[in-house]
């Protein structure tokens, strides 16, 4: 069974470590905040200029001046810091964010990522994604393993304009956890009930399978 969006987020949450500063992109990455393991503390960075993003506000707490990078109304946790976007990207570019989680259209065996532009469609822009993939210490990409037509998104070489080069080392898809190294995808875990063969078939780029590949377990 392919993972649900929530299960992908749950699996990504296992990449968190106590004391991590984390930037979560829009969509599935945002859900990761709901699955921080108990007893662990992480602090969320929002690239418009907030370190220590809290939950969405109650109606009484809503404040037009307190939003996140997705332009959603949010709150700040106790001990948060707020700063300019230049300072925010100094943090990101300077490698001070421990983990970035973001979506993508395509990733390839060189760790290249394409996530912001499909030629022929209107280009809305890359926002902070190029800075995030260039700056974070660790990046996890979340996406479906294949598009709705069954075409693999894990390629030998990205076909869309790139967001960043040689920067992705881990992908969590609905089918598998993949590491990228030495110019290949490495299958680390598979979704419950998903065979290595299916993953192999839906992975266009070179996939290395070493020994027994464990199945993810969810409580």
């Amino acid at each position: 069974m392919a993972l649900t969006r929530e299960q992908i987020a749950m699996r990504v949450a296992r990449e968190l470590q106590d004391g991590f500063y984390v930037n979560l992109g829009i969509g599935i990455p945002t859900l990761v905040a709901n699955y921080v393991p108990s007893g662990m503390e992480v602090m969320l960075q929002s690239e418009n200029g907030l370190l220590g993003m809290g939950p969405y506000p109650t109606e009484a707490q809503v404040d037009a001046d307190m939003i996140n990078a997705g332009k959603e109304t949010v709150t700040a946790v106790t001990g948060a810091a707020i700063f300019s976007s230049a300072e925010s990207f100094a943090m990101i570019r300077g490698g001070h964010v421990d983990l970035t989680v973001l979506g993508a259209f395509e990733v390839d065996v060189s760790g290249n990522i394409a996530s912001y532009m499909i030629p022929g469609k209107l280009v809305k822009g890359m926002g902070g994604a190029m800075d995030l993939v260039a700056g974070a210490q660790n990046i996890v990409v979340t996406m479906t393993h294949a598009d709705k037509h069954g075409n693999s998104k894990l390629l030998e070489q990205c076909t869309l304009p790139l967001t960043g080069v040689n920067c992705i080392n881990k992908i969590v898809t609905d089918l598998a956890v993949i590491e990228i190294k030495d110019g290949a995808f490495h299958l680390i875990e598979r979704a419950p009930g998903v065979s290595v063969e299916e993953i192999q078939q839906k992975t266009a780029g070179k996939l290395v399978v070493s020994g027994e590949v464990p199945e993810m377990a969810f409580d």
Binding site: L50, Y56, P57, A64, I67, S84, A86, M130, G135
Partner: protein
């Protein structure tokens, strides 16, 4: 205006000198922290062929979007646009130029412009369409792109509190691009929620020192929310 009192009484004075074809750097992120009254004044002036440097371009009927509706904008330098239909129409019709710039690079280009740094290297965008035609270079084995700084004829900024000398503080995430914008205008205009007397802002709490600011005007703000999200 004598000494350091930078307060002007009317929006006309605030934006006096803005001319067709000029470049305006605007603070704000989405609809958050935008200088609403200064944008409205530009609409009222009808100034044309403007280049705006702003992370976003508002929505159809708010923020910089209201200048799109009047076809006053020739070019946008932004990281993320297209939250409104008119933008899309003008862009696809070739009526509007767009220079997409990564958000962090955009913020740094403004800061560099204000700080007298004409260009800097960043890893952001290396190997992507953003780097096309730009110099690249390795430092310590990593590839970087040379990016040039940005300055504007005007900068328009929203502050929370500004004193008469132009010292500003910003409120929560309405800070965003405002501090950098403030440094990068030949003429920097601050629209403040509240104007206070010098001395009311503690010296070490000031986000934008008054030296960057030419004019201060008392504003009033709708503060429209782009995406209201509530706790379940």
């Amino acid at each position: 205006m004598a000494g350091f009192d930078k307060v002007v009484k009317t929006y006309e004075e605030a934006m006096a000198g803005l001319e067709d074809g000029m470049t305006v750097i605007a603070g704000g992120f989405g609809l958050c922290g935008i200088p609403e009254g200064l944008i409205a004044q530009i609409k009222n002036m009808g100034t044309k062929d403007l280049t705006f440097v702003s992370n976003n371009c508002g929505v159809d009927d708010f923020g910089l979007g209201i200048l799109l509706a009047e076809k006053q904008i020739k070019k946008m330098i932004s990281s993320y646009v297209g939250e409104n239909a008119e933008f899309e129409r003008q862009f696809l019709a070739g009526e509007l130029e767009v220079e997409l710039t990564p958000q962090g690079t955009l913020a740094e280009k403004m800061r560099a412009g204000g700080a007298g740094i004409p260009a800097f290297f960043t890893a952001t965008g290396f190997g992507t369409p953003v780097a096309e035609g730009k110099e690249t270079r390795q430092f310590n084995g990593r590839d970087y792109v040379l990016e040039e700084s940005i300055t504007g004829d005007f900068a328009i900024v929203r502050a929370w509190k500004a004193d008469r000398y132009g010292n500003c503080i910003y409120r929560d995430t309405a800070m965003n691009f405002n501090p950098m914008a403030a440094t990068a205008g030949k003429i920097t205009v601050v629209e403040a929620e509240e104007i206070v007397e010098p001395g009311e802002l503690k010296p070490t709490e000031i986000h934008t020192p008054g030296i960057y600011v030419n004019r201060v005007i008392q504003g009033s703000f709708e503060k429209r929310i782009e995406r209201l999200t509530l706790r379940q």
